[in-house]
């Protein structure tokens, strides 16, 4: 499943961010996941919990900030929330739109306990 690939990517970026020769314990990884990104949060958390064993992140939790979807209508320019694809503009009913927010998949930071 691809959530495993994502979890491995997160683990690797987080490990690389720990200062060299540090005795710090990583307690959390800050993530931003958009609701349109296609990421299944529970699967991601499960995959991470499995692969973090015996690594610098073995005590770390994922702190996930969900970004709500938002689109701008290409016809009437209205900005409106979208929780999935295939939704029409609430003002003019057009399906032509640009997604402004909601596709994020970002690793923001790690929080370490020194």
């Amino acid at each position: 499943m691809h959530e495993l690939s994502l979890a491995q990517s997160i683990l690797s970026a987080a490990e690389n961010a720990v200062p060299e020769n540090s005795i710090a314990v990583v307690i959390s990884v800050g993530l931003q996941i958009g609701e349109l990104s296609g990421v299944e949060i529970e699967s991601l958390e499960f995959a991470f919990s499995v692969i973090k064993a015996d690594t610098l992140l073995q005590n770390a939790e994922l702190n996930i900030q969900i970004i709500k979807g938002e689109a701008a209508c290409a016809e009437c320019k209205k900005i409106f929330p979208v929780s999935s694809y295939g939704i029409s503009c609430p003002q003019c009913k057009s399906y032509s739109m640009k997604i402004l927010k909601g596709r994020e998949m970002r690793i923001l930071n790690i929080v370490v306990d020194e």
Binding site: L6, L31, Y95
Partner: protein, 257 residues
């Protein structure tokens, strides 16, 4: 808005953890009641940054060689390999083609492509459900393609996972057949949103199935209003000329570096 974590200007971040809703203050110096010192180390990277870097590298390689690279995606059984067999046979004297095949196991698809006389590499992903930029990079290095050629990457049959992975392609072609449901684009929106062309295959079977072709086109356009749509049958040959014209127009619009 804070450029680091997107929190509100007054510093009140809400993070969501399924199961409970903690309030967490955006405070870099020290934290709450215990005697430990908490420090935030910024990362600010996309989760798929490594794949994206390699995809950008592939894209640069294709541009330098003036190659057109297409990523073919679909459910298993929509007809990706059959479409390639027809295309490679019909256009073999007009363009130089290379193919990368992706499947969990076997070289069956690569063998079919090989029988057309086209240079092909099979990637077996084992348990993996999608191709990624790293796999494509290695496959392309091995093939040493010519200038001005066309590369078809036939992804693993899967309408979900490949949507997330940029391979460095110029065009992403999603293939759906008339034996599938006409609400497919709405059920698998990520794939249709991320594609540039949709091919509706097996149109020769339309008299025998309840598939509403206008409905599937409307549904696809609801998800992605810019999607080009071509209807074909690899068995009867219907519509293939439109696909070939589209393909050749994309080759011609490649500007030599």
């Amino acid at each position: 808005m804070c450029a680091t974590c997107g929190c509100d200007a007054d510093g009140n971040v809400t993070m969501h953890e399924p199961g409970h809703e903690p309030e967490h203050s955006h405070d870099h110096d020290g934290h709450h009641s215990n005697h430990h010192h908490k420090k935030v180390v910024d990362i600010e990277k996309d989760i798929l940054h490594e794949n994206d870097l390699l995809a950008a590298r592939n894209r640069g390689y294709f541009e330098a060689k003036n190659m057109l690279a297409l990523n073919l995606v679909s459910s298993p059984g929509s007809g990706k390999t059959s479409l390639l067999e027809r295309t490679l046979t019909d256009l073999k004297d007009e363009l130089d083609f290379y193919v990368i095949e992706g499947d969990q196991q076997t070289t069956n698809d690569a063998d079919r492509i090989h029988a057309t006389g086209t240079k092909v590499v099979q990637i077996n992903t084992g348990k993996g459900c999608h191709l990624d930029a790293h796999m494509v990079l290695h496959a392309v290095q091995g093939m040493k393609p010519k200038q001005n050629s066309v590369l078809f990457i036939e992804n693993v049959g899967n309408l979900i996972c490949p949507a997330m992975f940029d391979l460095g392609e110029n065009e992403r072609v999603v293939i759906i057949s008339v034996t599938e449901g006409d609400d497919k684009p709405l059920k698998y929106p990520d794939m249709f949103y991320s594609s540039t062309l949709c091919i509706i295959n097996k149109t020769d079977l339309l008299p025998y199935v309840p598939f509403d072709i206008e409905k599937v086109k409307a549904n696809a356009r609801k998800v992605n209003h810019k999607l080009a749509i071509i209807e074909v049958s690899c068995t009867s040959g219907e519509g293939l000329q439109i696909w070939y014209d589209w393909l050749k127009s994309k080759v011609l619009t490649q500007e030599p570096v």
